[in-house]
C-alpha cells in the first residue's frame, strides 16, 4: 500500500506499470485518474487545492487500509496532488489490485467515494470573474451510504 501527497505531477503510465508489475496472484488491476476539468461558461485559470498536512496522510492510509480489508485487495495506491493546478492536469489517481475484477473496481470506487469527503482536501476555483471554494455536494456524502 502506498500513499503519496505531493505538489509535483505524477507519471500515470509509470505509476500504473510499476503498480501492475510482478504480480501473479492478482488477476485484476483497476486505475482511476482525476483531471482538472475546465468550466463551460467561465474558463478556469487555476484550481488550487489546499490540504491538512499530517491529517491528510493519516486519513488516506486509513481509507486505503479499509479498502484493502473490505475487498481483499492485494494492494492499493493513492496519489493526490495539492497546490495550483491548470485545467487538464492530473489531480490524483488510485489503483487497486485484486484476484478478480469486481473487487478491484469496487475497491477503487470505495477509495474514491471516501477520499472525496473524508480526506482533508479543499478545492478553490480561480476564474477571471473571481475565486470560489468548491462546495461539497450532497451526492458525495450520499455516496458513502452505499458501502
Amino acid at each position: 500500500m502506498r500513499i503519496c501527497v505531493q505538489a509535483e505531477p505524477f507519471d500515470l503510465g509509470a505509476e500504473s506499470a510499476a503498480f501492475a508489475a510482478g504480480r501473479k496472484d492478482m488477476g485484476a488491476i483497476v486505475t482511476f485518474t482525476g483531471v482538472v476539468r475546465d468550466l463551460a461558461d467561465d474558463p478556469l485559470e487555476v484550481m488550487e487545492i489546499e490540504h491538512y498536512p499530517g491529517m491528510t496522510e493519516k486519513a488516506l492510509e486509513q481509507i486505503a487500509a479499509d479498502a484493502v480489508t473490505r475487498f481483499s485487495l492485494g494492494d492499493a495506491l493513492v496519489i493526490h496532488r495539492y497546490g495550483p493546478l491548470k485545467p487538464g492536469e492530473m489531480i490524483m489517481m488510485v489503483a487497486t489490485a485484486a484476484p478478480h475484477r469486481k473487487d478491484a473496481f469496487d475497491g477503487a470506487e470505495f477509495l474514491m467515494d471516501y477520499l472525496k469527503s473524508r480526506a482533508p482536501f479543499w478545492k478553490r476555483e480561480v476564474t477571471r470573474g473571481g475565486a470560489d471554494w468548491v462546495d461539497a455536494k450532497d451526492a458525495d456524502e450520499d455516496a458513502l451510504t452505499r458501502w
Binding site: 491529517m55 493519516k58 486519513a59 489531480i91 469527503s117 482533508p120 482536501f121 479543499w122 478545492k123 461539497a136
Partner: protein, 81 residues
C-alpha cells in the same frame, strides 16, 4: 491548544493557526469561547452545519471531548478527488 483553520474558515478568521489558551472541555465550548472573541470568529462559526472538526487529526463532532487534545482543526466539508 493549537487551533488550525482551513479553506474559507481560514480566510474568514484571517489566519491559518494560532495557540489558544483555553479550559474548554469540549469542541462546542471552544467554539463558544472563540465566537465571543471578535466578530470575524462569530461569523466564521455562525453555522456549525457548514463546518467539520478534527481533534488531533481525527474527524469528530462538536460534542467531542478536548481532554488531552493538542490540536483542533476547523474546516468546511472536504472536496478531494
Amino acid at each position: 491548544m493549537n487551533v488550525l483553520y482551513f479553506a474559507w474558515v481560514r480566510e474568514r478568521i484571517g489566519l491559518p493557526r494560532e495557540e489558544v489558551d483555553t479550559g474548554a472541555a469540549t469542541v462546542a465550548e471552544l467554539v463558544t469561547e472563540l465566537r465571543a472573541r471578535e466578530e470575524r470568529y462569530d461569523l466564521a462559526f455562525s453555522d456549525l452545519t457548514a463546518l467539520r472538526v478534527a481533534v488531533d487529526q481525527q474527524l469528530t463532532d462538536f460534542d467531542a471531548s478536548l481532554e488531552g487534545a493538542r490540536e483542533v482543526a476547523f474546516f468546511p466539508p472536504m472536496t478531494g478527488g
